[in-house]
Every structure is written in C-alpha cells, then in structure tokens.
C-alpha cells in the first residue's frame, strides 16, 4: 500500500513538473513583403520551370552559365548538358510547382538563392513529385544573371535511405 502511494506521489510530482517544460508553441503565420532580389529570383526560377514545362531548350540553356552543374546527395555532379537533357526529355512531365521560403544573399556579382520547391511530375510514368530544398548560385553576366551551380536535395531524405536509393535522376 505504502509503495503504491509513493509511486503515485512520484508520478504526481512528475506530472506537476511537465507544464514547466517548453511546449511547442502555436506558429504565428506571417505574410512577408519579399525583397527585390526574392521577387527577381522567384521570377527567374519560375522562368526556368516554365521552360522545362514547355520543353523550351533554348530558353533554359540561355539562363545557364557554361560551367553550370547540379550537385545532389550521394551522386556525382550532373553536367549542364546531362541535366538539360534529363529535364527536356519528353517523358518527363512537370505538371505543377510551387516555390516558397526563398531567401537571397546578395554578394554583388553573385547571389546565393535558397528556396523550397514542391513539384508534381512524372518520369516514364514514375512519380517524381515531392518537396526539394534547393540552393542556387547565380552569377552576374552583363546585365543579366546566369545560374552557375545548383545544390538540391529531397526534403526528408536521410543519408542512410538515400544510399539505398537508385542514382538521382536529375529531375530533382
């Protein structure tokens, strides 16, 4: 009987302490006024995605620097030509996309652009939908910008699970 009381009293004391622990607070949504660069690069990223949707190789290549490459977890870097070929493939269908949470570090002649992209698409009827974390390095080229490097990873992918997956397709 006494043991039961002690046990129950201990639980009681423990539970009384629980409210002192930080509880995940409710998120306060905010509606932001994007910076000029976020507005600019959101537009350029959308242009690229629209070129992919329309299979407009000229428009897409016109936005890439000569040494453009894509880096993904657990894979060799993908050269510009290979990446363009992969997203221009007729059996890759980019149905829709959303870009969000973009931030831009303006370095003068270069800009580091980070964002999340949600896409719906298929490749050879295989589902290529998902959410991706993207970091793009844009470089000034005269009066315009060219995409020089892309680092992209699927959101939620872990290194252990990624190792067991097949080689990234380049659609990311």
């Amino acid at each position: 009987m006494r043991a039961s009381y002690v046990c129950l009293f201990s639980i009681f004391m423990l539970s009384a302490a629980i409210p002192q622990e930080p509880v995940s607070p409710k998120l306060t949504p905010t509606i932001i006024t994007s910076t000029r660069q976020v507005t600019l690069f959101t537009g350029m990223e959308k242009q690229m995605l629209q070129a992919v949707q329309k299979k407009d190789r000229v428009a897409l290549e016109g936005m890439l620097s000569d040494d453009f490459e894509v880096a993904m977890p657990n894979a060799d870097p993908l050269a510009s030509e290979d990446w363009v070929d992969s997203v221009m493939a007729q059996d890759f269908i980019l149905k829709s996309y959303v870009i969000r949470q973009m931030s831009v570090a303006d370095l003068g002649e270069a800009a580091v652009v980070k964002f999340e992209r949600f896409q719906q698409g298929t490749y050879k009827a295989r589902n290529e939908s998902g959410e991706f974390f993207v970091v793009d390095l844009w470089k000034k080229s005269g009066d315009s910008w060219k995409l020089a490097n892309r680092y992209v990873a699927r959101v939620g992918a872990t290194s252990s699970s990624a190792k067991t997956q097949s080689r990234p397709s380049g659609k990311e």
Partner: protein, 320 residues
C-alpha cells in the same frame, strides 16, 4: 485497500489527470517561433485557375483575388500605432527627420486616391473605409536588444500594451519600425517587412514589422536617393514608406490572414510588389509616383479588386 485509502488514491488520480491536462496547454503568447511559415497555403498549384467563393452582397470577387470569409478592418479611420524601435536619434536615416516624415505620411495617406483602392475590399458586413490615421506612437530604444526575432518583437509590443504606452486595440494596426542597426531573422535576405496577428494583452493584435531599408538598400530600397532623402544615398525613409504602405494595405484587407488573398497566397499588395507604374522625377533626381501631404512619394501600386483586377496608382486609374 481500505475505504480511506481508496478515497485518497482516487483524489490523487484526479489531481494527476488535471496536471496532465494542464501540460497539454500551449504556452501563452508572445512566446512564438522565430521562423514562421507563410500564413497562406496555396490552395491550388501554379498554372491552375482561381475559383471565387460564393460570398455575401458586399464582397466582390472574380478580380484575381479571392475572399476567404474573414474580417477586414473597417475603421474610419483605421488607427495606426507606431513603435519606433532602436536608435532614432542617430545618423543617416535613423533620425527624427525620418520620424517626422513617416508621421506626415501616415497622417496624409488616408482618403487619398491611392488608399481608396482598398475600398474595393470588404467582408460580409461592409467595406474598408479607405481612411487611416496615426493614432499614437512610442519609442523603445532597444528593450529586446538589436538582434530581434519574432518572439522578441511580440514581447516588445506586448510590453507597450501592458504598460499603457499604447492602447490595446484589436481594430488598429501596430507598426514596429526598426532603425538600421537592428537585425531581424530573415530581414534583408527574405523580406523587407511582414504582417501578422496574435493575441497580446488579451486582444487579437494586428502588427507589422518594417526595418529601415538603409540596412540593405539593394534588397529593400527602391532607389538609393528617394524623393525625401536628406542627402544623396540616404534613402531609408522612402524605402520604409513603401514597405509601410504594403503592410498597412494588407493588414487592413487581410488582418487575420483569412480574408483576401489569391490562389498562390498573395495578398493585394503582394500582387504588385516593387511595381510602381509611371513615375516623375523630383528635383533631386529621385523618382516618385504620388504627391500628397506636401511631399512626393515613391510607392508600389496596389491591386484593385474591381474591373477585372490589376495594379494601379489610384482608385479607378489605369492598370499597369
């Protein structure tokens, strides 16, 4: 177990259950996370058509922006409260000249053709008046330090409400304006300002953050020298005016983030962000597109919720 023991056991169980229930309650505001997601989740993805919701007689839809059932601020005028945070007795644009300029702006913006664009928005009880006015303002030289995050801004505003420095007014808009030595997570890299709402001092308070754009002119200023610059290259006050306009328009038409926005989550001012339309040139070489209150101003256009919808500089004016 005896009757007494059973009784005590049951009593302890009740207290235990009550404690566990209390533990489920979230902490009170303003303890908020510092990186908040966008308040609007796009209902449909890019490239699909918007669909207007059926609404009451005072709500007009079908102009590229949709009504989602929440209230708008209908005050005539909508009271604006300002917290000047940081050092506003400094140099550059961190001066009392900026304070005076923005006071003038807030006291003359109401009922202009520009502000009346907002009258095209309403809820099921009435429309936005198109009038706003500076109600009161306070100075906080840095109660929460110079490295801010959302929770610290909430705390600073909350302190003003609790101390009576500012009234607790759920029908007003609180502008939290920071000097250029103050940082805020995401300011300059992601945004120039934002608006939100949360329960502070027991009321649903609508507040907005706007940083001095002299901290990052390439990100948040329109031009290095504005029409009201005290010296060449000091454009912070004009840059802030532009963002203040953006945030107040949105805080009035979408105060609780559940009234007016489009299928991608963009509110009325987002749809015209950094778009100015035709401009004129001031004597100091700066561009401007509005004149009122004895000053020239360079302000982004707003989305008019009529005539099919579009960005314009004045109610009923041409879309650009």
């Amino acid at each position: 177990m005896t009757f007494k023991a059973r009784h005590t056991f049951a009593f302890l169980l009740v207290i235990l259950a009550a404690n566990l229930l209390l533990a489920q309650r979230p902490l009170d505001n303003p303890q908020q996370p510092d990186i908040a997601p966008s308040g609007h989740n796009p209902e449909v993805l890019q490239g699909t058509m918007e669909r207007a919701k059926p609404t009451g007689p005072t709500v007009v839809t079908g102009n590229g922006i949709n009504y989602h059932g929440g209230p708008v601020l209908q005050g005539n005028p909508v009271p604006i409260y300002v917290i000047w945070y940081g050092n506003w007795n400094g140099t550059g644009s961190n001066t009392q000249a900026t304070v005076s300029l923005i006071d003038t702006f807030l006291n003359s913006l109401g009922n202009t053709g520009y502000e009346r664009i907002n009258t095209t928005y309403g809820d099921n009880t009435g429309n936005v008046s198109g009038n706003l006015a500076l109600a009161s303002q306070v100075f906080d030289t840095g109660s929460e330090g110079t490295r801010l995050k959302n929770s610290r801004i909430s705390a600073a505003i909350s302190a003003q409400l609790k101390s009576g420095g500012l009234p607790t007014d759920p029908n007003g808009v609180y502008l939290f304006l920071t000097s250029s030595n103050v940082s805020e997570s995401g300011f300059c890299s992601q945004f120039c300002g934002f608006h939100t709402h949360q329960t502070l001092n027991g009321a649903d308070i609508k507040w907005a953050f706007i940083g001095n754009s002299d901290r990052c002119p390439s990100a948040c200023a329109i031009q290095s020298t504005g029409p009201n610059s005290p010296a060449p290259g000091v454009g912070g006050a004009d840059g802030m005016v532009n963002v203040i306009t953006h945030e107040t328009e949105e805080a009035i038409t979408d105060p609780d983030l559940n009234a007016w926005f489009d299928s991608t989550g963009n509110e009325d001012a987002d749809k015209c962000n950094f778009r100015f339309g035709p401009t004129s040139t001031a004597s100091n070489g700066a561009q401007f597109n509005q004149t009122f209150g004895g000053h020239n101003w360079m302000m982004q256009m707003e989305w008019e919720n009529s005539r099919g919808g579009g960005c314009d500089q004045t109610l009923g004016g041409p879309f650009f």
